[in-house]
């Protein structure tokens, strides 16, 4: 295997892994958009908030990690309930843009709240996930692969599988799909929208917690964590707002595209193309397929 090809392969693999991380964040967006038609801008901040809570309860109350996890999950569920009670319930039947703005407001509240409760300094998040390069890959294939990223990929696949089972096989999952299909029809067969919203925001909160922990162990828990939402947006439009496989595939495409562009195109234009390349890629793609890869075909009627 030539050196250049090995390097290319490394770039692609690290891109794939980064893509998995993006997909984790995008997944939360998709869940909420599917069930309630709300474009939840606060998802990134929810990741930050969840990770902050997870680290915070360990620091402040001295809980071990295995106890802090359920505590953080509990906080996210409580949060979902509060959001439904205080915000969503009052905004039923408003325009999508109004709901979108409400989630931006929510993002501000959570950001301030997280800082206020747990302090705004950078926190280390260490729950014993393996760090550094994988020796196995290095020895056998002469490739540099981060262990943490492999773990992230595995956890993400488990999460997606669990979500798939949850959506396809359980009673609640079926109700969620019904709501996603048609709010009114779901209401008329006796599904409570309010309960569904609490559930779906809780699930999104838990996904945010997982994403937050993964990103947090990669680069520490700090404010910039909330900005990964901006990274997840192109993933989202590429894959389609309503599709879970879309979020995964979109994440992988964006992750690889971004890394390859940074490495092979970056030097010619002065670097830092990572910031916008994903958006341009998604934009170019949308011009061909306006509803994204797996999005529902838009049928327009007067």
């Amino acid at each position: 295997m030539s050196v250049e090809f090995g390097f290319f392969l490394e770039t692609v693999i690290s891109g794939l892994m980064a893509g998995v991380m993006y997909a984790l964040v995008a997944l939360g967006f998709v869940l909420i958009f599917k069930a309630s038609g709300i474009f939840n801008f606060a998802q990134g901040v929810m990741c930050l908030f969840a990770a902050l809570t997870f680290v915070g309860v360990q620091e402040k109350f001295g809980l071990p990690a295995w106890l802090a996890l359920p505590a953080a999950v509990g906080v996210m569920i409580l949060l979902a309930w509060l959001i439904e009670r205080l915000v969503l319930r009052h905004l039923v039947n408003q325009d999508p843009i109004i709901l979108f703005m409400a989630t931006i407001g929510l993002a501000y509240v959570l950001e301030g709240l997280g800082d206020l409760m747990w302090g705004s300094d950078v926190k280390l998040l260490d729950i014993g996930l393996p760090q550094g390069a994988s020796d196995y890959m290095l020895d056998n294939f002469n490739l540099y692969v981060e262990k943490l990223e492999v773990v992230a990929a595995v956890i993400a696949s488990i999460l997606v599988a669990a979500l798939a089972v949850f959506f396809q096989k359980t009673r609640v999952g079926r109700a969620l799909r019904a709501v996603a299909d048609d709010h009114q029809a779901a209401l008329s067969v006796g599904i409570s929208l309010n309960t569904i919203w609490v559930i779906v925001w809780s699930v999104a909160g838990i996904v945010a917690l997982v994403a937050g922990i993964m990103w947090g162990s990669k680069s520490g828990v700090q404010f910039s964590l909330s900005l990964i939402a901006l990274k997840a947006l192109p993933v989202l439009i590429l894959g389609g707002f309503t599709s879970i496989p879309g979020a995964i595939v979109g994440g992988l495409i964006i992750g690889v595209g971004e890394k390859v562009a940074e490495v092979y195109m970056g030097p010619f234009v002065g670097g830092a193309v990572e910031n916008w390349f994903a958006y341009m890629l998604a934009l170019a793609f949308l011009l061909v397929r306006p509803q994204g890869l797996f999005g529902e075909k838009i049928i327009e009627r007067v």
Binding site: G105, L106, L236, V302
Partner: protein, 358 residues
């Protein structure tokens, strides 16, 4: 009682089509303008001018620009700050390349350049709709900021990567640079903003504005009755970017005086302006002004109150401020999704019959 139009008869069509058909409105706006032109400039000091009135006017102008696009034409844009940056850098390049050029012309040309760039980034709107478009406009945000950061020509190869406004005059009055008196700056901005508001108001109630609103309300139906989506959407992008570009030129040239791309034109700016029009009222000119005033004045007042009166630390008050800000936005959306402009309308309706119940 205070707001009755009883007895105000219109005897010709042009009276009927006036911007303010009701006498009370006309007098009200005249009084406001009189205060803005003759009272404020001669009573405020440097601090009030620089910290309150200048940003207020400039943000109102930019919010108006965004309102054309989002409120009137229904195309959500999250790239406002990038278009402000285009206006700023255009004005900077014009000022440094043509030192003798009048600043009025610089502002207008910056607006035109931004309009061209804006229309370019508006092209995807012909294919993409709704939130897909909103995210696509983020491409403009990140790409343009990256571009002005990377290409040294944009900031004249200066070592810091910053741009600084040189001293320029508008009709012989110095308005930019560190030594320009606040009085001139204020008048310059005020005149531009008032003229822009007048022109925009007339555009949105005319043929083009009605086309925008038709596209906003239902684009397919609009297309079927003969509104061209291409020209309509692109004209909305062009007019909106023109206003935002002028605002950007004023923002950098007159108000800030120096700008650094990632700070002055970050995505937070885009959101701030979007909040302004949502809180002020989508699809109203008045709303742009009210929203800008509210979102600019409230944090200042709140900070002063928290730090000076309650003696909290700045960091603490910042956290509280951001929470309160988010809470207020949610509160506003729940209580009055149509914004402050709608509240004013309700007040007017109430005043019309007050104090009688019917």
């Amino acid at each position: 009682m205070f707001y009755r139009e009883t007895g105000q008869f219109k005897t010709n069509y042009s009276d009927d089509r006036a911007i303010f058909p009701i006498a009370q409105d006309r007098y009200g706006i005249m009084i406001l303008l009189a205060i803005a032109f003759f009272v404020i400039p001669f009573t405020v000091d440097d601090y009030w001018g620089n910290a309150i009135f200048l940003p207020l006017l400039i943000y109102a102008l930019i919010a108006m620009g965004l309102n054309v696009l989002v409120g009137y034409c229904g195309q959500i844009s999250l790239g406002t700050a990038a278009f402000m940056a285009v206006g700023s850098y255009a004005s900077f390049k014009l000022m440094t390349s043509f030192p003798g050029l009048d600043f009025t012309i610089v502002v207008l040309m910056s607006g035109l350049i931004t309009a061209v760039v804006g229309s370019l980034f508006g092209l995807p709107s012909l294919r993409i709709k709704g939130f897909y478009l909103a995210v696509a406009t983020l491409a403009a945000q990140f790409f343009i900021i990256w571009l002005v950061n990377k290409v040294e020509w944009f900031y004249n190869y200066s070592a810091t990567g910053q741009i600084n406004a040189p001293e320029r005059t508008a009709l012989m009055f110095p308005v930019t640079g560190p030594n320009a008196p606040i009085l001139y700056k204020y008048f310059f901005c005020l005149i531009i903003v008032v003229l822009a508001a007048l022109v925009t108001k007339n555009i949105v109630r005319g043929r083009i504005g009605r086309q925008w609103m038709a596209i906003r309300d239902m684009d397919i139906a609009a297309e079927l009755i003969g509104v061209r989506p291409l020209t309509t959407k692109l004209s909305a992008f062009a007019v909106s970017s023109f206003l935002i570009g002028m605002g950007g030129a004023l923002y950098f040239g007159v108000w800030l005086g120096a700008a650094e791309p990632t700070e002055a034109f970050g995505i937070d700016q885009s959101f701030l302006i979007l909040f302004m029009i949502i809180v002020g009222g989508l699809g109203t000119i008045l709303g742009s002004f009210l929203g800008a005033a509210f979102l600019w004045l409230f944090p200042i007042a709140f900070k002063n109150f928290m730090v000076d009166s309650l003696g909290l630390s700045t960091a603490m008050s910042e956290h509280l401020q951001i929470i309160l800000m988010g809470g207020l936005i949610i509160f506003f959306l729940i209580v009055e999704p149509h914004g402050l402009a709608r509240l004013w309308q309700i007040t007017k309706e109430k005043l019309r019959i007050w104090p009688f119940p019917h």
